[in-house]
């Protein structure tokens, strides 16, 4: 424990150096803007700025502090376009649209933005604190999470998302199946055989998650907007000056805490990131809520849970990278590359060989989180005014930004056509009253589920009992059962009580 405190002290000495402090703030601010742009998320933000940081000849610790600030800032910023425009700012911000955007449409854009900023802050800070005190222990737990445990985690995720089944279970299931089908496109790792690629090399490795998100959500939303505008049914929103109150925060405090815990633990696992974390947090929250009828229509809990989770998972993904040199997400993989670029070898040795970088980075995350809260709260009013931009300017602007953003990640024109095609497809689905969230979740969770199930079965040579061979798995299956059964029992008991109290009320 002493080592942690002395490490943190030396780290803060590095991070509070005026130049580094400036870089944290600059990185957080730039990151927020980058994250707010639809399609451009932490991965592109960090990747675009890496060569610049390198070219400017910064010291390694300064460069990595700047990049980490951008990473953090972009995770914060991703919520802005989700809430205001119903277009996810990045892949991890899909769940934020579900309740964030309805809040904005109900005239509570300011409240949604400020509440999610606070939730992000708590999630992010929670993750940094756990990381600085228990980093190595957590990392060794994370790598012991075997393929069969991932299968159990996915079952848990599916179970908690069963709560998304809305008024039309058939359409929800169909949506999830469409997602699963999209996920099965590409070379099958276990046999090396291409599936559903129709000889197109661009989809040999599957469809990028970002392309699906921006296509199905972003483009579909834009087409929907254009349609509404053409029909003249588009309502202009008033500027609202709402802001989160202490009472609101008290209402969601346990939600934020649960979201942070779920997000952090999913974040430290290599192979799962912010998108899985926020989905599970949202599903679990809706399951845990005694009255979940408002979810999807602007419930504060439905906004706070995924936002706390995706920021906590951003911190969690740093754990295996710093302690083991194994990236926990795409963005941390780029940060890892950044370290190598500066001839710093990440891993356990970094804490002894280059403590100024390891601890300086951790200290800068504490500062970055506080800075982001301070930057974001006053900007809420400014961002909320985005909605007052006339649609004929806003819609093409979003479209252009989304295309640039996607192209900067995938650098492949083919994916731009995919976005348009998926956008039209998504728009049709919306016309048919499909909810798009199950499609996205089927895509993410289905792919992970299949890969890990087949890995587990390769390990056991086809013996299915491997799925129940660890306590991690058994605990997760138990939790999965719990989130399915408990709401049913509670719901029945509540209904009985309601019937007892008001026996004459019509059903």
């Amino acid at each position: 424990m002493d080592a942690v405190f002395s490490g943190l002290a030396s780290g803060f000495a590095v991070a509070l150096d005026p130049f580094n402090l400036f870089l944290v703030l600059a990185g957080c601010f730039a990151g927020t803007l980058i994250g707010a742009l639809p399609g451009i998320g932490p991965i592109n933000g960090v990747a675009i700025l890496l060569p610049i940081a390198y070219g400017l000849g910064f010291k390694p610790e300064s460069a990595i502090i700047l990049l980490a600030g951008i990473y953090y800032g972009a995770e914060y910023g991703g919520r802005i376009s989700s809430i205001l425009l119903n277009v996810p700012g990045d892949a991890g911000a899909v769940m934020t649209t579900l309740d964030g955007n309805p809040m904005a449409r109900n005239g509570e854009a300011g409240k949604a933005l400020s509440l999610s900023a606070v939730a992000s802050f708590i999630g992010g800070t929670f993750a940094v604190i756990l990381m600085s005190f228990f980093g190595p222990a957590l990392a060794s737990y994370a790598i012991h999470f075997s393929p069969s445990d991932y299968v159990a985690l996915m079952v848990f995720a599916f179970a908690s998302l069963a709560s998304l089944v809305g008024s039309n279970p058939v359409k929800t299931l169909l949506g999830a199946v469409i997602g699963l089908m999209l996920a099965s496109i590409g070379i099958d790792a276990n046999t090396g055989v291409p599936r559903f690629t129709f000889g197109i090399p661009d989809i040999l490795a599957g469809i990028d998650f970002l392309v699906v998100v921006i296509g199905l959500f972003g483009m579909a939303e834009l087409i929907h907007l254009v349609e509404q505008q053409a029909a003249g049914t588009l309502k202009t929103l008033k500027i609202d000056k709402s802001f989160v109150t202490l009472k609101d925060l008290a209402f969601v405090k346990w939600t934020i805490l649960r979201g942070s815990v779920i997000g952090f633990f999913i974040g430290i696992l290599p192979g799962t990131g912010a998108s899985v974390a926020s989905a599970v947090a949202y599903g679990a929250e809706k399951r845990a809520a005694t009255d979940s009828s408002k979810f999807g229509e602007g419930d504060m809990r439905g906004l706070a849970a995924p936002e706390a989770a995706n920021n906590a998972s951003a911190g969690g993904a740093m754990v295996p990278m710093l302690t083991l040199g194994i990236p926990g997400s795409g963005t941390t993989a780029i940060l890892l590359g950044a370290l190598l670029l500066f001839n710093v070898t990440p891993g356990p040795l970094m804490f002894t060989q280059r403590p100024e970088i390891a601890w300086g980075l951790i200290a800068s995350m504490y500062i970055g989180n506080i800075a982001l809260l301070i930057i974001n709260l006053p900007l809420v009013g400014l961002f909320a005014r985005l909605l007052t931009i006339p649609q004929q300017f806003l819609t093409p602007l979003i479209a252009v930004l989304a295309f640039v953003g996607v192209y900067s990640v995938v650098s492949n024109p083919h994916d731009l056509y995919m976005i348009i095609a998926l956008g039209v497809f998504g728009w049709f689905l919306r016309k048919l009253q499909f909810s798009l969230a199950p499609v996205i979740l089927g895509f993410v969770l289905g792919g992970l589920f299949e890969d890990n199930l087949r890995r587990a079965l390769s390990i056991s040579a086809g013996d299915w009992t491997i799925l129940l061979s660890s306590w991690n798995s058994i605990a997760l299956y138990g939790l999965a059962l719990l989130v399915v059964v408990v709401p049913i029992v509670l719901g029945r008991r509540k209904r009985n009580r309601a019937e007892d109290e008001a026996p004459k009320a019509p059903a």
Partner: protein
């Protein structure tokens, strides 16, 4: 003043997303046809740092994951065929894909091989507390039952990572199709699987072990090289000296589009040749865990094409293609 520079750079960078196209090498770019953090990333970092003095601006490393390099080769055969700015990292795995037709219609004749970054070799790796002290221990178990050991790597069945395991089994006339092979999504996940105990043996590269050597977490049973490697790998036995005819060299290098003008191609060759002679280059290549292999221009192009031909032969023998 410095702050203004940084601020303007930040503002600018938020605007610039896509690479520019021009006939001059004004924005050198290395395309790593994979996600960050793997071998292609490492290859591009060598070009980025090694050619630093040859170009005015910093070289940009971009990532173009997809179809284990298929997306990149397709892009450089359809839209960026004459892009003078971009070089694409490749490895023996890419050559294997060309050899067995994984890149569809595109083969070794559809690119212009430019220069090598260095070479690497396959490695047989176990956890530090593994019961397998030597390659013989492992092979003894495999000979009893090829399906008794859980082995894994970062590539799919039929990939070069799988080939390392297959070649090792073939050295004792064992059937590669009987082995228990777990395909992970990249080396990072596979190493996590090894450290976490999901797999017993990991087929990686000697080079990627540089950042894990000092930690005492893993042990390299054998390098799949023709002879002993220089320090820090000089203590690692080769599969060959232990009596297993299993070599898997991994050439790492760069190719360009087929229609790149000779002027630009020659300029790149010159840049590489200028860097090859320097001490910084050898140190850089060594730091990244590679062994020197300095080939460029026509000579290199011819050598790579010969390798692809040889691989087609191996693949036919292994039953991967007819």
């Amino acid at each position: 003043m410095k702050l203004i520079h940084i601020a303007s750079a930040l503002a600018l960078s938020a605007v610039i997303g896509a690479p520019a196209f021009a006939q001059e090498i004004d924005r050198p770019e290395c395309v790593a046809p994979a996600k960050p953090g793997g071998g292609f990333d490492l290859t591009c970092r060598i070009a980025q740092q090694g050619l630093e003095k040859q170009f005015d601006g910093p070289m940009e490393v971009t990532f173009l994951p997809g179809g284990i390099g298929a997306v990149a080769i397709n892009l450089f055969n359809t839209t960026r065929t004459d892009d003078p700015n971009a070089i694409v990292a490749f490895s023996s795995g890419s050559l294997l894909n060309m050899a067995i037709g994984k890149y569809g219609q595109w083969g070794a004749d559809d690119v212009r091989f430019l220069a090598t970054a260095g070479t690497d070799y396959g490695a047989v790796i176990v956890r530090a507390d593994s019961p397998y002290q030597s390659l013989d221990d492992l092979m003894a178990d495999l000979e009893k039952d090829p399906g008794s050991v859980v082995m894994g790597a970062g590539g799919s069945v039929g990939s070069q990572d799988w080939m390392k395991a297959a070649i090792l089994l073939k050295s004792k006339e064992l059937d590669p199709r009987k082995m228990r092979y777990v395909a992970f999504d990249g080396g990072g996940d596979a190493i996590a699987g090894l450290l976490g105990g999901s797999i017993q043996v990991y087929f990686g590269d000697v080079g990627e072990m540089v950042s894990h050597l000092g930690t005492g977490e893993m042990r390299i049973l054998a390098a799949m090289s023709p002879e002993r490697l220089p320090a820090p790998f000089n203590d690692i036995a080769t599969a060959k000296e232990l009596g297993y005819d299993a070599e898997w060299p991994i050439v790492r290098g760069f190719y360009m589009g087929k229609d790149v003008p000779d002027a630009a191609y020659d300029k790149w060759v010159e840049a590489f040749n200028a860097a090859y002679g320097t001490e910084e280059w050898s140190k850089l290549v060594k730091d990244k865990g590679l062994l020197p292999l300095n080939l460029s221009g026509q000579e290199m192009d011819a050598d790579m094409k010969k390798r692809v031909e040889r691989m087609t032969g191996i693949a036919k023998e292994a039953g991967l293609i007819q």
